[in-house]
Amino acid sequence: MKHLISPMDLTPEELSELLSLAQDIMKDPERYRHVCDGKKLATCFYEPSTRTRLSFEAAMLNLGGSVLGFQSADSSSAAKGESVSDTIQIISYYADICAMRHPKEGAPFVASKHARIPVINAGDGGHNHPTQTLTDLLTILELKGRLDNMTIGLCGDLKFGRTVHSLINAMVRYPGIRFVLISPEELRIPAYLKEEVLDEMGIPYKEVRSLDEVMPELDILYMTRVQRERFFNEEDYIRLKNSFILTPEKMKLAKEDMFVLHPLPRVNEISVEVDNDPRAAYFRQAGFGVYARMALIILMLGLKDRIPQA
């Protein structure tokens, strides 16, 4: 694996290797303490994303490596007009691996074409965010013990939510997956995803307008934020938003072993009273993200043989 630009860059084999490595790290993190000794991760963040950056940095530090980098465009050379391809060629001399976040779609791809070190896309505009998808998959695998044969509810902004699109693309590779798509009319998933992915592959799905009616059938509920500015008018937003807010009352309708995921940050789409429910897994999910990134860094740096025997 040279670079990770799109979640679909990973073959099913590479993905399963990565997920089992992440699970192994979770079992015995101490054993991985020095796998990346002497290696440096550059976090090149052309827009701020504190959680993603800290998750990458924690991952590298946990492995014994060190980190350097910049955050936000004006603190970097981009403000002086340097191109992404020039920047990455220089970073290639400073670090062993780079995680790049950029507001423009395709910037990490451009970087990967000029880099002499592996480039990880840490989010490019509304386009791809592959390490979020890895985090989501690891979370589902860890909580449910499998990635196949389940009903996944996706709720909120399914039109613009890239994490949702990537998760759909990743999950359709496993047998027995069914989707329940819960969103307001205005924010339904794009037609191309329905036609080119779900219909094309014969994946069962249904589209509904409220959470209540479908809660009992879900194995996973993936919540996303519904942003006010996506609505044509304030009335629609106020009228609709409650249908997509997860409350303890709605949780009562769900299975005992249903888990709630959210890419975070949350605003008000999950009421804070849900946090104490053992099925609320979104904070644990953020923790799993560090392990997914640790496994990714090890594999991309080709350092598997540095892992001590158990």
Partner: protein, 143 residues
């Protein structure tokens, strides 16, 4: 109708949508060629009613198949020594560089001007090209 014969060596770009001949002319930068170029507008066509035709005398360097991206109905007649040696439709290229422009304001090409605009053919039947950077579908309206 005007006679399109008389080419000793060259190419006839036929079945251009009526009115688009000039755009094809500009796109191929035929104005920069020294050789003889003719544009025939609104010629009558059995197939299309009306069509435009471009006739170019002499060898031409451009890959004419890129025209398929702009107008898939175009046909090419290659002429050598006064005879049509090849008559074919244009074939959609797998990838095109600097022919289509990405119009996605969130695409990296919107801020880095020196990047080539590259599109890849992702669906042959539906003739869908996607930007290699942002993967946005090219929406065809005009050239």
């Amino acid at each position: 109708m005007l006679n399109i014969g008389g080419l000793h060596q060259g190419v006839v770009i036929d079945h251009i949508k009526p009115g688009q001949g000039m755009q094809i002319y500009e796109y191929l930068e035929l104005g920069k060629l020294d050789c003889c170029v003719a544009i025939i507008k609104n010629a009558s066509s059995n197939k299309m009613g009306r069509k435009d035709i471009i006739k170019i005398e002499g060898p031409i360097q451009v890959n004419l198949d890129t025209l398929a991206v702009l107008d898939p109905d175009i046909t090419l007649n290659i002429i050598e020594n006064d005879v049509i040696v090849e008559k074919r439709t244009v074939r959609l290229p797998e990838e095109v560089t600097n022919i289509l422009r990405c119009k996605n304001p969130r695409c990296i090409t919107s801020i880095e001007q020196e990047l080539p605009h590259r599109f890849r053919l992702t669906n042959k039947e539906k003739r869908i090209y996607r930007c290699v950077y942002c993967e946005q579908k090219y929406k065809e309206t005009n050239i």
